[in-house]
Symmetry: D2
Subunit: 340 residues, 4 copies
Amino acid sequence: MLSFRCDYAEGAHPEILKRLTETNFEQLDGYGNDPYTRSAKRKILEACNCPEGEVHLLVGGTQTNSTIIAAMLADYEGAVSVQTAHINVHEAGAVEYTGHKVLTLPQHHGKMDAGELEAFLAASAADPNKDHMVWPGLVYISLSTEYGTIYTRAELAELQAIAHKYDLPLFIDGARLGYALASPACDFTLADLAGLCDVFYIGGTKVGALCGEAVVFTKKAPKHFFTTIKQHGALLAKGRLLGVQFDTLFTDNLYGRIAANAIDRAQEMIAVLKEKGIPFFLETPTNQQFVILENNYMEALSSKVGFDIWEPYDATHTVVRFATSWATTPQKIQQLRELL
Amino acid sequence: MLSFRCDYAEGAHPEILKRLTETNFEQLDGYGNDPYTRSAKRKILEACNCPEGEVHLLVGGTQTNSTIIAAMLADYEGAVSVQTAHINVHEAGAVEYTGHKVLTLPQHHGKMDAGELEAFLAASAADPNKDHMVWPGLVYISLSTEYGTIYTRAELAELQAIAHKYDLPLFIDGARLGYALASPACDFTLADLAGLCDVFYIGGTKVGALCGEAVVFTKKAPKHFFTTIKQHGALLAKGRLLGVQFDTLFTDNLYGRIAANAIDRAQEMIAVLKEKGIPFFLETPTNQQFVILENNYMEALSSKVGFDIWEPYDATHTVVRFATSWATTPQKIQQLRELL
Amino acid sequence: MLSFRCDYAEGAHPEILKRLTETNFEQLDGYGNDPYTRSAKRKILEACNCPEGEVHLLVGGTQTNSTIIAAMLADYEGAVSVQTAHINVHEAGAVEYTGHKVLTLPQHHGKMDAGELEAFLAASAADPNKDHMVWPGLVYISLSTEYGTIYTRAELAELQAIAHKYDLPLFIDGARLGYALASPACDFTLADLAGLCDVFYIGGTKVGALCGEAVVFTKKAPKHFFTTIKQHGALLAKGRLLGVQFDTLFTDNLYGRIAANAIDRAQEMIAVLKEKGIPFFLETPTNQQFVILENNYMEALSSKVGFDIWEPYDATHTVVRFATSWATTPQKIQQLRELL
Amino acid sequence: MLSFRCDYAEGAHPEILKRLTETNFEQLDGYGNDPYTRSAKRKILEACNCPEGEVHLLVGGTQTNSTIIAAMLADYEGAVSVQTAHINVHEAGAVEYTGHKVLTLPQHHGKMDAGELEAFLAASAADPNKDHMVWPGLVYISLSTEYGTIYTRAELAELQAIAHKYDLPLFIDGARLGYALASPACDFTLADLAGLCDVFYIGGTKVGALCGEAVVFTKKAPKHFFTTIKQHGALLAKGRLLGVQFDTLFTDNLYGRIAANAIDRAQEMIAVLKEKGIPFFLETPTNQQFVILENNYMEALSSKVGFDIWEPYDATHTVVRFATSWATTPQKIQQLRELL
């Protein structure tokens, strides 16, 4: 059945499978100590224009978030995020499992407001009870957000400036970074990003890889981060699986090109949804679109096409998400057009 | 360079890559809710003759060990293992990171002695200070062990009986289970194993998969184990990556057949090593062999063939490990013969 | 200087010091295995009319909260509380440090609304992503609350019914339980409380003891709770320090009598504050009163009498707290009257 | 019944109870922000001749150990101790509960051997798998040890030199520090100790206080250690309870004087035991003495005098411990003499 449920419904870009197959019988050292992983790291640092940075390849998003956060926080610190942040809602408490609180701010279509961040950090620093409270230890945002929205360069710079003013690193969860960067609404590049935060990751799982998230510490990784990865169960024995994938994604800008496909298809999908008169809950510049469906119609439609139920809208309507991906073809958008 | 360093130097069995490629563009639900994962689980339960069991697919060994152990222990409990157990030495304290102590017994070529286990559990239960101490909560063994040795059916039955006498589950780390089962010295089958323990896993990473460990709870999984997997960062969005691999490995007994290759090659390798007069530190019935090399000879050899430095033997000799795998060819054994 | 800053400014009720002194040279077993601890437990269960319950004596509030919560939750569960709950704000993330998330609801003068609890639990149970989320594992309320307010018997019964409907225990943080029970507005007794929740504690630190919180599991304590106490660093070697104190507090209802003093003084203090025309932010039925002071006046007053700065009210006013205690004398209220 | 079971059988030194009573109705700020706590800290730093150090008062030993260790270790580090260390055996896994492994060395009457420490640290640093292993993060010793033995000044200096060579702090658990310092066999003073380690604590619970352990960071406390104390549930609201006790213990060297009583009585007790022909398992220079009793004799004796059963000696004999304390009188030693 046709599905727009998410951006991880297909496997990997065929070039990745081809490279995995071509290199399959080479005998390589484990744990990331192989030439493909080294090459991938080099290419990523080049693409980020961040020669002094450090790259680590992890397997999945929740794992990457909790490993980075635990590595960057002291025991008495927590991560500051918006209420709807993935780490706060949909990661089964993985951050708290490592002993750290998530300190939350209001969200605005999934985004953090710089003024609210500053007010929160100022109030924390001024609180007479601050020694009895969790210390803010880093600022976490996602890009694109859980709502498909993106930050402008100026917004990122402002968030970073505020975070640094309070000596906190800014961490960008880039599980869907490709789709943000490929959006015409995005006014910065991957090469800019390293200057706008302290650590981010380049999501592979949702942008054409079987699995894998490439973490970029823009200055310096936390001490013994390799051991931390191992301790979190995030170290692959066959590191080549991640190395070959990211080496392929960062050859000839495959990552950027396939992300752009998702955005092109999303624009076509928006046009189709509008043509059919389906009201938007939130139209976004990336690959996730949120529309409002009448419940009976939704029920009927769900037998023909996959989408993600987001949240109730009112007694008779529901917000649903349609997502495109690196693998969505123009044909599929046409099929959707016929089914709506 | 020719390598016998470990059993995860190559990628995956070609049939796995073929199946990943064939199914690549099918749009599948995530998080293990796809038909390949379901099929893999079914086939594994059949192979284990354990219809009432429950299978979960995780990514790597350290992750699987700490996830299972944390899920099965109460906060006040620890895991009982031998001193050389992987969880006690080479997992960066992943078990302790989840809050649990590893309680250790002496090792005998990597194996736990049933009498020593019983004595330890009896002493724990009788200790007047036991309420001030970590309670033994499960018994962990590896099969084959870190030293390539295996347990007999009678030994497993005895360990299980003792564990159960003290109300503890027996957990078998099967990262190298395939190589144990394929050994001519092994007097039990995979179908027997479910009756001999409470939970075990079937290692994929070291036996022909890119990654993946199939956990089998022989009776019942811990409550909400899916959420626990997520919380540990061990849940793949593209669960198909694990599903397709294990479905392939458990079709026509591919898993058993490729494990047998490693054992056949190991037997040939033992013959070569003996022919060359290289003294054994430990000759095992599985795919890992431990020999003693004079240090200058070792140094020279290491530029021509890969092996794993295990531990110093004396001032002028070192114990090294040569391992075969599912991918080792008879030609490679011949190459080794010429290099020694 | 005269202080109404909090209810733990003085040491202990003199009877407690007297009994500590009288029993000082008796040689007693440690860790709570002494006759005074046993007697205290017995008297508390009698006062609670809860013969089948189980009592444990811990040292302080934060410690007690995190120990109980960790003992009652599975790893995948969190504690449900209001936003302003002590565990969520002022315990330095002690609950998260044990690996558990605090799931928050809005507060109403510090209280949880039963309807909002039900809506939250119903939504959690119905959430299609619930397996990726922290499971609600217990309901935490404080009594009296951080705002000095109390629940009615009907409100507690409703909260309990909702919690039980979802198979969750109800846990009452009673750091200030004495002051709730002594309030004329309170429509239940300590003997009723055991029927209204699954676990609660009787705060000693804020009601006349040097330290100590008496935890009452109304049905059954979690397995090996003694070991859990030890593991949390909450077990006193000289358990007699807690035993003698609670034995004294529960002899001839000393606990109830001294708590009543705080309430009587609070009523007098309310009258004085009103007489002086000081506007109330929140007038409560217990020992904490919240008033609004003009900032210059507050500054001047603070050199003569101690109070607690709560939060800004507007640009020129501040909310401050005046608290009475078991030790507040009528003379001190008169002194306050003269200083205002 | 007469008891030599432990050194915490009585309450507090009468001077402590007197001071608690005298200061009882002073209204003091909480959480250690009172003049008695400040005075105690000042006196302790003076006694330690460590003006640039920092003192914190915690409640009990297990709590103090796990709080200090967690505060001083990075997540990827563990504590190095001997096998019989209190943290490794009798603290219910409190250190592991904070996420850290205890790495163990052999013990020699409870002591760590400097050569073995050096060999362990050298091997750790040289291990080719060290990135997959827990990093040694601090060295923990107890003084006097769990076996009543003490280190010489030279031994401490050597342990410290080795620890520092590997960039590790040396932590001394001083739950029984008073009894070590008071021993005629001790060749260093409290004032020397600050130069011999990075952090230690002065045990109050076992040396005349109702509770309390005074932690001395000889250089600098870990950042936000106050918050860490709170997070561990180790912060007393009525910090005066600890402040007054340690202020009293460090006035006119009360601490040293009452510890000396235990040593004097222990010497008398040794003489009595020898006079009665009771064989020693371990005669020590401090307040704990270990003797071997025939089992029937032990049984009979146990109805008349309390002692601690340590471990089986052989089939018909048991090792038992007799401990004196700050409160042991010459009369009690005479009573023991008559009962043996």
